[in-house]
Amino acid sequence: MSRALLEVSNLVSAYGKIEALKGVSLAVEQGKITCLLGPNGAGKTTLMFSTAGILRPKAGSIRFAGEEIAGRAPHAIVEKGIALVPENRLVFPHMSVLENLQAGAYQRPDRDAIEGDIEKLFARFPRLKERGAQEAGTLSGGEQQMLSVARALMSRPKLLLMDEPSLGLAPLVVEEIFRIVTDLHRDGTTIFLVEQNAHMALRVAHHFYLMEQGKVTFSGDPGSIAEDEVIRRAYLGTAKA
């Protein structure tokens, strides 16, 4: 039985006085793709930020490979082996594609291997290689998403967090993104994926959670519940009539 790489227990996180996570518990299994679905405002991005160290939780715990990481600084979390591909991609717009990748490798001690990793990423994402010297801000949405993923990969993460990678992208590009997700999984990366596009997410996920209003409301495998039921709850939540 695979052990959980990431274990979140009773996590409470807030923005000032607004509690966005009201006691969230879930687990991400090593070597699998886990999805987090839910309507807007459910707290999915808050959970990603709490795990990545951007937001310090008020209570609860986040364990990564058995080690408590809740409340650590973002750069320390990257050092531990977690990388977040944020919602809205957040590339460095006036730096070149190459420099964006170099930034992703910033805290790696093995400087010599970085060149090799860049080559490998260029092989995986040929469009990025074409635009290597171009300013990242001039790339298309899909290309920026690929760059954001590639930058996160530069830190050689054991766990890749992805927050809405398909947001604002054309269907063909979305297909490509999800192909990349499955490729990364095949190469051994554990992936924790937040998505609005429940349909695509369920096609790749091994396990998924539903979140509503700061709490986890469902946990299961795709197929354990009818897809249209999932999609309904992911977009609309469980409305109490």
Binding site: Y15, L55, H75, M95, G104, Y106, Q107
Partner: protein, 298 residues
């Protein structure tokens, strides 16, 4: 007529290179931390006062005094950073994370501290400072070139080249540019953003300290007004060139120096300042982005 024009231009460039250095330091803090540091000049003054105190009580050579001025400015800057800027960080999630206004007013409070401390340590309004060069100006044809001005100009060029190398050719520089573009994205890439803040602050303070030393050594005297003067000139030049833009800071400094030199010659010292402020006001009303705008930041 032409001779005056050229002479004033030369003087203006010399003056402007000081302003450029001050503006660069100010801009580094603003561009990276997104904060206005009203204690920037006063920290520079603290460093120069430390050098003056050493000169008054022990006497020391030019290089030693320069190093003391720079080190003093860096120490004073670290004090400001810890007290005014570390508590008001803006990378942190949520709408309440970090207050730029509070940080700025806190930096003003420290400005008051530095000014009072300076008058307590060295009570006289004016102190002599060992001049950079004791001889007279060089004569090149009909023009006078003050040696101090040449040294200042050379120092400014050297600093700008050094800074350019630092920002575009080193790993630290990559981190700084990343933080300038997006502190959030830099955090996610594994960059220790608070550490970048501290180091940039120290760098800006050092550059400011050198600028202050050059001003004081060129004039051969120091007063407590150095603090406010440095902040004002730095801010003016930064806004002229374009908020947050390093090339803009250099350009703004040079333009400010040129305008001051020419206005002073034709219209006198009061009108000189009036024109500089008027120019800034008009520029802000018409083209707030400045003469060499920083690219819009996300």
């Amino acid at each position: 007529m032409i001779a005056d024009l050229v002479q004033n231009t030369l003087d203006g460039l010399a003056l402007g290179s000081t302003y450029a250095l001050l503006a660069v330091g100010f801009t580094l803090i603003f561009g990276v931390l997104r904060r206005v540091n009203l204690s920037y000049g006063p920290a520079i003054m603290a460093g120069c006062y430390a050098a003056t105190w050493t000169h008054v009580h022990f006497g020391a050579g030019l290089i030693v005094l320069a190093l003391i001025a720079i080190a003093g400015a860096v120490l004073a800057g670290a004090y400001v950073e810890r007290l005014c800027f570390a508590p008001h960080r803006s990378t942190g999630a949520g709408p309440c994370a970090g207050s730029p206004v509070a940080a700025m007013v806190a930096s003003f409070a420290l400005w008051m501290q530095f000014e009072e401390a300076a008058t307590l340590v060295l009570p006289r309004h004016l102190y002599a400072f060992p001049p950079l060069y004791s001889g007279g100006p060089l004569t090149v044809g009909p023009f006078f070139l003050r040696v101090e001005a040449l040294v200042t100009l050379a120092a400014a060029i050297a600093i700008c080249l050094l800074l350019g190398w630092l920002l575009w050719r080193t790993r630290f520089g990559l981190a700084v540019r990343a933080v300038i573009e997006s502190p959030r994205a830099a955090e996610l890439a594994g960059i220790n953003v608070p550490s970048v803040f501290v180091r940039v602050f120290a760098l800006a303070s050092a550059i400011g300290g050198l600028a202050g030393y050059l001003v004081v050594a060129s004039h051969g005297q120091i007063t407590p007004m150095l603090g406010m003067w440095s902040t004002l000139k730095g801010m003016l030049a930064m806004m002229l060139g374009g908020l947050g833009s390093l090339p803009g800071a250099v350009l703004g400094g040079l333009v400010l120096g040129l305008i001051e030199a020419h206005s002073q010659w034709y219209l006198g010292p009061q009108t000189r300042d009036l024109i500089a402020y008027l120019l800034l006001f008009v520029l802000l009303a018409l083209r707030p982005a400045g003469l060499w705008p920083a690219r819009a930041q996300g």
